[in-house]
């Protein structure tokens, strides 16, 4: 059974911060969802099942290792107000 602590642990792994008032509702949802997912554990034994590979059995789609035109740095930074000096800007992590 999923506990409050499990929910906090999963949230941390998923890089989500959960507010105190959200924990109970989220735990309740997770208990229900995991119980629903458990249906597969009543299924046939593992040993009777084969490994699954790919839907269309497509093998690796390789192409020649050639340099092709890519996106302009300026264009990529457009979605973050143009960035600064060609980089994405975030707050200082280290102080001098």
């Amino acid at each position: 059974m999923v506990t409050r602590d499990d929910v906090l642990k999963i949230a941390k792994l998923a890089k989500l911060s959960v507010e105190d008032e959200e924990i109970d509702a989220l735990t309740k949802d997770m208990i229900e969802i995991i119980e629903f997912a458990n249906a597969i554990n009543n299924a046939v034994e593992d040993a009777e099942l084969e490994d699954f590979d790919d839907i269309n059995s497509v093998v690796n789609a390789f192409h020649e290792d050639e340099v092709v035109e890519s996106f302009d740095r300026e264009l990529i930074l457009k979605n973050r107000d143009g960035g600064e000096d060609g980089y994405f800007l975030v707050k200082n992590r280290l102080t001098r």
Binding site: V2, D6, V7, I10, A11, L13, A14, K15, L16, S17, V18, E19, L26, D29, M30, E32, I33, I34, F36, A37, N38, A39, I40, N41, A43, V44, D46, L49, E50, D51, F52, D53, I55, N56, V58, N60, A61, H63, F71, L75, I76, K78, N79, R80, F88, V90, K91, R93
Partner: protein, 485 residues
Amino acid sequence: MSRIKYLNHLLATKQISCVELTEKYLKEIEKENKTLNAYVKVTDEAALDTAKKVDEKISKGEPLMPLEGIPMTLKDNISTKDIETTCCSKILEGYVPIYDATVWEILKSQNAVLLGKTNMDEFAMGSSCETSYFGGALNPHDTSHVAGGSSGGVASAVGGNIAVYGLGSDTGGSIRQPASFCGLVGLKPTYGAVSRYGLIAYASSFDQIGPIASSVEDAAIVYDAISLYDEKDATSCGSRYKAYDVLANSIKGMKIGIVKEYFEGIRDDIKASIEEAAKVYEELGAEMVYFNIPELKYALPVYYILACAEASSNLGRYDGIRYGYRTSNYRDINDMICKTRSEGFGREVKRRIMLGTYVLSAGYYDAYYKKAQKLRGAILKAFKNAFRKCDVILAPTVPTTAFELNFTAKDPVETYLTDICTVPVNIAGLPAVSIPCGFDSEGLPIGMQLIGDSFREDKILNAAYQYEQCTADRIYKKLEIGVRL
């Protein structure tokens, strides 16, 4: 005649100009979208620019391509260069792609007139369109009901006659379910038939782009146009059989499978509608074959485990660093990422990321993810065996008709259960089309599904077209809204 063919004819014979046609649609969008909430962005300037280009071609007497000048829409998870693409999530508010999805590149090269981007459940996670950051799209048949999801906006727009057709995406039923709710045709192609390049990923091994249209003919025209091999998508195959040319073929002797498991827990009136359809098929000379696929009982949990696992990884990219929403108050990078994600994602998206993280985490991976993958293989194998017995499978699309508003307020598992008839196809990567097959006592459309073996879109669309030809007057309802053709 299908709408696309009819409009193509009107344009080519100069009975209407493309600018006039586009303006007509834009005017009706302005009027109807206030209620339907189908569009989250209207691209009027770009639409009129394309229309002018088409008119120039017509004035020079140049022949038109099948989709040229036809006003259409794209679900808001299909990347459009220089046009905001949000997946209806706060976390992508203001995000403007710097490249086009391949499907849009193809349609753009045909001068398709993009009217705007349409509403959807946030990151395509939902069955009612109500998890959208912009509020849900409503059902044009009855606005006290949802349009369905996740491609609810496309269905609402096409059903409400404010787009001729649209492209949606289907991960667990997101094209077929809203098509069914809005009385339309929705095609989920074979996995790999249509390029996913530029489709913002939910669950990459399940996602497929496909058309929602008002007739089988229109769906086939669009499918044939977009199902091309694309080197930018490593899983791309392109189509193997074109669909449009075989629509009119006789289906005499075609074997149609009825699988018992698809009818468990289905509302009686829907069951009856599909039994009616089976009779029509028998009259058309098809042979019904009855059998079981017991593996289908695992389809729902298998789908939710695997799709959420893939989602938890795919949605890891939303960190607030490179694009989209970023929290304003934070201590350090980790705090920034956590706060951005918590403030930017809605509740259903967070739930699915958490489930996906759980089933992939140490100690649970074997019991959930690995086991579900093996069952995926078993379901695929069962379908492959089924297609030795029949050409297509006839099944309901949804156990009910359109939900009343505020459906997602219910508990999550109850919502997941309504996907029972649509998810098996995504698990096995098969093509399926939903077409209308009647109405319930409230006048809401009922849909049925035709499922085919991989890359046999030709067969399911052929069967759908043959049924449509002899039932059109009782499966379609002309709604007195939007552009009336």
